[in-house]
């Protein structure tokens, strides 16, 4: 510690008594593996989002009242557009650095969601959800749901043509809820679409409510990890359930984190210069009754849009309650997906009758249920997401859109099942093979032990 830093530390420590706590946390051991940094990448993205978001909030106007644009962009000179869209135009074109921050914010949101998905995948595949970490896992699922909502609400705030279409579809999905649908839709959206209430409410959700809950839950999520310590990969000669082998927080893990923060910032800034995330000047504001071709939500909602396209034309009324394709594709099926994610740890616990606290990770290929479930669910989501790009695929390949859709309808149902069965079978065979090897090894060992005992006696 340098003398200056020691002086500063002592000033604070003598008033707060930080030394034991600092000693405890500064020397905490973190296990090695690059995949353990995924969660940290998500947290750093969140920080970048909060910082850039705060800047954007100073300029954004959360209203759909018509306002005249008086900025430098010729295309909109003197035109009357919704205030939200006008503020975006102003920020992008008339505020120096505005467009960079907008792109940084959007790029960071993409990275946030992508790394959260990868992180969740890592947790699922390696079994970091096992006891005692089920609670943390559930917390993670809740956070994941929140960030999906945050992303949707965030890009809807721009109120361009695509955003307005997305809000309309969300409203229609709310309407599709049985019995309470219309009332819930009116409560959430402030009445019959479109109202002037949607954007202000989305703004409050996006800037205040969801970030606050998310930051709180992230704190809780991290606190759990601090308390329970990190899991780790098996290593020969080390009892991973009783010990953590790795690098201490200071200096090694801190060095990694510091590098990560700066490197991520640099990557995102480079992306913001090269890739026009969420530039919207050409597409125009949302006008009721208008829509642009090639209408999709952002990539993390592709799986929902894909389901909306694929679920066939179903609509029937039973006892005065209407069930339609939108309800099934927009609410029931996603509910099943999230339900499956939530239930899986407990399912695995039940099926394999697991006991005790697990702190060591497993290879998913050694656990047939997990391999099948993981590959099956993930591939299903991938196919559903690909189905959302059906119109672009149709244009690129030359196949009629109708054919492309049927291709996806069939593959999304068949392929995940086939893949799941194949990998489960592979996993079972792999285990059986290893059992034979270890049994052979053990019989060899017991012979040696028997020999040693005999020699001793």
């Amino acid at each position: 510690m340098t003398p200056l830093f020691a002086l500063l530390f002592d000033t604070v420590d003598s008033r707060l008594g930080l030394r034991p706590g600092t000693k405890k946390s500064l020397n905490k051991v973190f296990p090695h593996h690059w995949s353990f940094l995924l969660g940290e990448t998500a947290v750093v993205s969140l920080v970048i989002l909060v910082l850039t978001g705060t800047y954007l909030t100073f300029f954004y106007r959360a209203s759909t009242e018509p306002v005249t644009y008086t900025g430098a962009l010729e295309l909109y000179a003197g035109r009357s557009v919704p205030a939200a869209y006008e503020s975006i135009l102003r920020l992008s074109n008339d505020v120096p650095g505005g467009l960079l921050f907008r792109r940084l914010h959007r790029g960071a949101s993409h990275l946030f969601i992508a790394t959260t998905v990868l992180h969740m995948l890592r947790i699922l595949l390696t079994g970091a959800f096992r006891r005692p970490r089920e609670l943390n896992y559930l917390l993670g699922i809740v956070m994941f749901t929140l960030i999906l909502g945050e992303g949707f609400v965030g890009y809807s705030l721009i109120y361009d043509s695509l955003a307005g279409t997305g809000i309309r579809i969300a409203y229609s999905t709310a309407l599709a809820l049985p019995i309470v649908g219309q009332q819930v839709a009116f409560w959430v959206f402030g009445g019959q679409f479109p109202t002037g209430e949607v954007i202000p409410r989305f703004f409050v959700l996006h800037v205040m409510v969801i970030p606050a809950v998310l930051i709180g839950l992230t704190g809780l999520h991290l606190a759990f990890i601090v308390r329970q310590r990190h899991t780790q990969f098996p290593k020969r000669g080390v009892d991973g359930h009783a010990y953590i082998l790795g690098k201490p927080l200071w200096p090694s893990q801190f060095a990694e984190s510091a590098t990560l923060v700066l490197w991520m910032g640099g990557l995102l800034t480079a992306a913001a210069v090269l890739i026009p995330w969420s530039d919207v000047a050409l597409s125009g504001p949302y006008v009721p009754g208008e829509v642009g071709n090639n209408a999709q939500p952002d990539w993390f909602m592709f799986w929902l849009d894909g389901m909306l396209r694929m679920v066939p034309a179903i609509e029937f009324t039973v006892l005065g309650v209407t069930i339609n394709a939108l309800f099934i594709a927009g609410l029931v099926l996603p509910g099943l997906v999230f339900g499956a994610l939530i239930v899986y740890p407990f399912l695995e616990q039940r099926v394999y009758r697991l006991r005790g606290d697990w702190h060591v990770l497993q290879n998913p290929l050694d656990i047939p249920l997990r391999a099948g479930f993981g590959l099956g669910t993930f591939s299903a989501i991938l196919f559903m997401s690909a189905a959302a790009t059906s119109d672009q695929l149709s244009r690129i390949t030359g196949f009629p859109i109708e054919g492309v859709l049927w291709f996806f309808r069939v593959t999304t149902v068949v392929a995940p099942i086939v893949l799941a069965l194949v990998v489960t079978r592979y996993s079972q065979r792999r285990l059986a093979r290893r059992d034979l090897e270890v049994a052979a090894q053990e019989s060899g060992e017991s012979q040696i032990l028997a020999g040693a005992t005999a020699a001793r006696d």
Partner: protein
Amino acid sequence: MSTTRGDAPNVRVGTPARAQGPAGEIEILTEEIPPPSQINDAIVIGLSIAAGICGLAFGVVLTLGGPLPLYGGALALGLLSLAYAVRRYFTDRFPEVEAIEARLQFTDPELPEPETVAEVRAVGRRPVLRWALIGSATTLGVGLLAPISTLGPRAGNQLGSTAWRRGTRVVSTDGEPIRPEDIAPGGVLYVWPEGAVNNEFSSTILVRLATAPEEPTNFDWVVDDRVAAYSRVCTHAGCPVNLYREQDEALFCPCHQSTFDVVRGCIPTFGPAARALPQLPLDTDDEGYLVATDDFADQVGPARG
């Protein structure tokens, strides 16, 4: 199988383990001290200077109103250089360490039972007191949800009607009334009720068919045997069904690709829409302008649950 041979510490699984030594005590297994390296020093210094210059450049160019690629590029370069400099600094100045720390065990049979955690315990009383409190707190909590009902209007039959009424003129987006002759053959027009332009729920499309319409089109509502009007709110998820294929005489929704056959009353022929687009009862008034004779007869847009 799992072994504890070799140089690993002596601990068994299954026994309630205590951390070896006070918490935060770690045992350093290996320590590798980096050799002094001039190259490393040069890199750190060089990159730090570069990062500083880039940072300053970012500030200056941004303030002076320079182009985005310039100040954005400067910021990106600065951050990336600093990242690498930080990494090199740490690898140079600190040893690479492999450490080991004991975990805490939470399922310890020697821990006190949950009921005995608090020092002061309740003196036995009738449980009905407790339940009374819990019951009323729950009811109060549920009551506190009531303000949610103020977030929007009461659900009534708002979705059962649009702004079209008997005698409402059909107007374009500019507000101009329309004569049947104004539509080119095979053409479409995006129209609204007079006085309700841009009312999303009432958005309508006017089509001049090239072929004669067939069942289940309502022929009373077709003008000049060819001009028909349909709601253009998609009955699947509400996107505007604006795309018209002239030769196929089909309306196509760009969101989820529902296709409607205009000759046959806009019944859905492909895609997830299950209901036909409602037809607007159409007629001409004394001056020859198109008017509606009633509101849509069927549900407009997506169904409510």
